[in-house]
């Protein structure tokens, strides 16, 4: 239970940190920020890699989780990068 309290602490602090860091984002960047954050949520990939695979069901679940998280990661970063490259100042 102590671990959970510690990790819960990390959770709260990270959310607070995120709110502080991004609170003044210019509207030009709303879409890239959303898309870039979306790619970061693909961090579930790390979780998917760590799954134990004791049964066939679990192996299948882990494979699917890794695949979909990878789509999220690769798709998210590439689309964000493509989008940001378009923003130019004359």
């Amino acid at each position: 239970m102590e671990t959970y309290i510690l990790l819960g602490f990390v959770l709260i602090l990270s959310i607070y940190l995120g709110l502080e860091l991004i609170s003044k984002v210019p509207s030009t960047l709303h879409t890239p920020l959303m898309s870039g954050a979306n790619a970061i949520s693909g961090i579930a990939l790390v979780g998917a890699l760590l799954l134990t695979a004791d049964s066939q069901l679990q192996t299948a679940l882990a494979f699917l989780a890794v695949t979909f998280a990878s789509i999220n990661v690769f798709g998210g970063y590439l689309v964000t990068n493509r989008m940001l490259k378009m923003f130019k100042k004359k």
């Binding site: 819960g8 030009t28 979909f68 690769f74 989008m83």
Partner: protein, 455 residues
């Protein structure tokens, strides 16, 4: 699986990169680097995870497959389909956490808290998944279902049932052993509930829903981090949760509505606003007259909306802007935060058409000097320029911050027909003395003006 000390240390390093990355992503000059930094953070975290892994080959195959599909979609997709792509990727992230939590349920959680955590993660991940899929289908116009249809009502009911079932399962967990049947009911209800969560929310409210789903996918990942006792999942997930939440709040504020009202109520029916009856006549204008007025204007404000995206008019709009500038006219773009179907939709479209981002202005920047604007050109925007929001206390959109184009000397409204906007509210702007209606497809109309300029 146990996480080794080395892994944990590298995860902390990766978390720092994520934090720096997302901070840089919020500033125009550093955004590209920020995105790159966060990709490095991801790479580092994934690589170190591979140190001890049970089925490296199967999982590598999964990564390869996902990388292929993801890259293909990301590089092929047209910039105009960005909103639905973001929704789709977001859904896949949610699905991944849903599957992680499902798998962890089978690893027989050993205490009460873990059970509740697993079920909550299944729920948030599942809602994000099917909710995002519905958002994807709506944005790409694959489904069109009325808010009042029986199917929408059915799924909305299932959403409330699923929420009640999650609460119920959290309460009964201490009392009975959660078996697989019970868990299966939760899985199914969650997936159907996600559909019901997004189905009743339409058109102009989409920016809020997308931001919220974005936030939920992060929160789901952070919860998965709690289940797996993994700090990098918690930090990265929380950052996404926070950034999505900020966007959600910005969008809701731009509509002067609470998040709860957008998600669960929607706009009151338009019939409540009676004063829209006697509006008088509209003044139509044709392309050549529009050209003559624009040619003599010394300052022009272009206000795009979803209609510009539909008509794919951004390139011809940019061309018009350039011709006007060559003609000595000052050109600015007034971008409302909720114009379009996702946060920043108009900015992305105009950036794609090579419009410099320093001429894109927010409502607060353009409203004070509106009376010095000679011509405001409204392209496929409606609710975000509706003067009822400032003039008519009974209107459903009263109080919403708008771009006050009605204060400009002349207003051109490019529109297909006289239909009302997403909010279903009649727009008195169309009937004002200084307004000229340019009916027809926005791309054709502006194209017409552009060719008059060239002649």
């Amino acid at each position: 699986m146990e996480i080794s000390l080395i892994q944990n240390i590298v995860y902390i390093f990766s978390s720092i990169l994520f934090i720096t990355g997302i901070k840089m992503l919020g500033k125009e000059d550093t955004a590209v680097k920020g995105n790159f930094l966060s990709a490095i953070a991801m790479l580092v975290a994934v690589l170190v995870t591979f140190i001890n892994i049970s089925n490296p080959l199967i999982l590598l195959a999964g990564i390869g497959l996902g990388a292929f599909i993801g890259s293909l979609i990301a590089l092929k997709v047209k910039m105009t389909s960005i909103p639905e792509m973001v929704a789709l990727f977001n859904g896949f992230g949610g699905l991944a956490t849903f599957l992680i939590a499902w798998s962890e349920f089978n690893s027989t959680p050993d205490n009460l808290f873990q059970y509740i955590l697993v079920m909550t993660t299944v729920y948030v991940g599942g809602i994000t998944f099917t909710g995002s899929l519905v958002a994807y289908a709506k944005l790409s116009e694959k489904i069109q279902i009325a808010k009042t249809s029986i199917i929408t009502k059915l799924f909305t009911t299932i959403f409330y049932i699923s929420l009640a079932f999650l609460l119920y399962s959290a309460i009964v967990t201490p009392l009975l052993v959660i078996n697989f049947e019970f868990f299966t009911v939760l899985l199914v209800l969650t997936l159907l509930g996600g559909i019901g969560f997004v189905l009743p929310i339409g058109g102009g409210d989409m920016p809020v829903v997308i931001s919220l789903l974005n936030s939920l996918s992060g929160i789901a990942a952070a919860f998965a981090g709690l289940i797996l006792l993994n700090n990098v999942l918690i930090v990265a997930g929380s950052l996404v949760g926070a950034s999505g939440l900020i966007l959600t709040i910005i969008m809701a504020k731009a509509m002067n509505r609470s998040i709860g009202n957008i998600l669960f109520v929607g706009y009151a029916s338009a019939s409540s606003s009676k004063s829209s009856e006697e509006q008088g006549e509209v003044n139509p204008i044709n392309v050549s007259d529009a050209y003559l007025i624009l040619e003599n204007a010394s300052s022009v404000l272009i206000v795009p909306g979803y209609g510009m995206a539909v008509a794919q008019a951004q390139h011809v709009v940019r061309e018009l802007g350039e011709l006007l500038e060559e003609n000595g006219t000052e050109v600015k773009y007034g971008i409302h935060p909720v114009a379009g179907r996702m946060p920043g939709h108009m900015n992305v479209l105009l950036a794609e058409a090579n419009v410099s981002y320093d001429v894109l202005a927010e409502p607060d920047d353009v409203n004070p000097s509106m009376d010095s604007v000679d011509v405001a050109v409204v392209i496929g925007a409606n609710d975000v320029v509706n003067p009822s929001a400032t003039e008519e206390p009974g209107s459903p959109i009263y109080g919403m911050p708008i771009i006050e184009v009605h204060n400009a000397k002349t207003v051109f409204v490019l529109k297909r027909s006289m239909s009302s906007g997403f909010a279903g509210v009649q727009n008195p702007l169309f009937f004002k003395q200084n307004t000229r209606m340019l009916f027809g497809d926005a791309k054709d109309s502006i194209g017409g003006v552009v060719s008059e300029f060239k002649d």
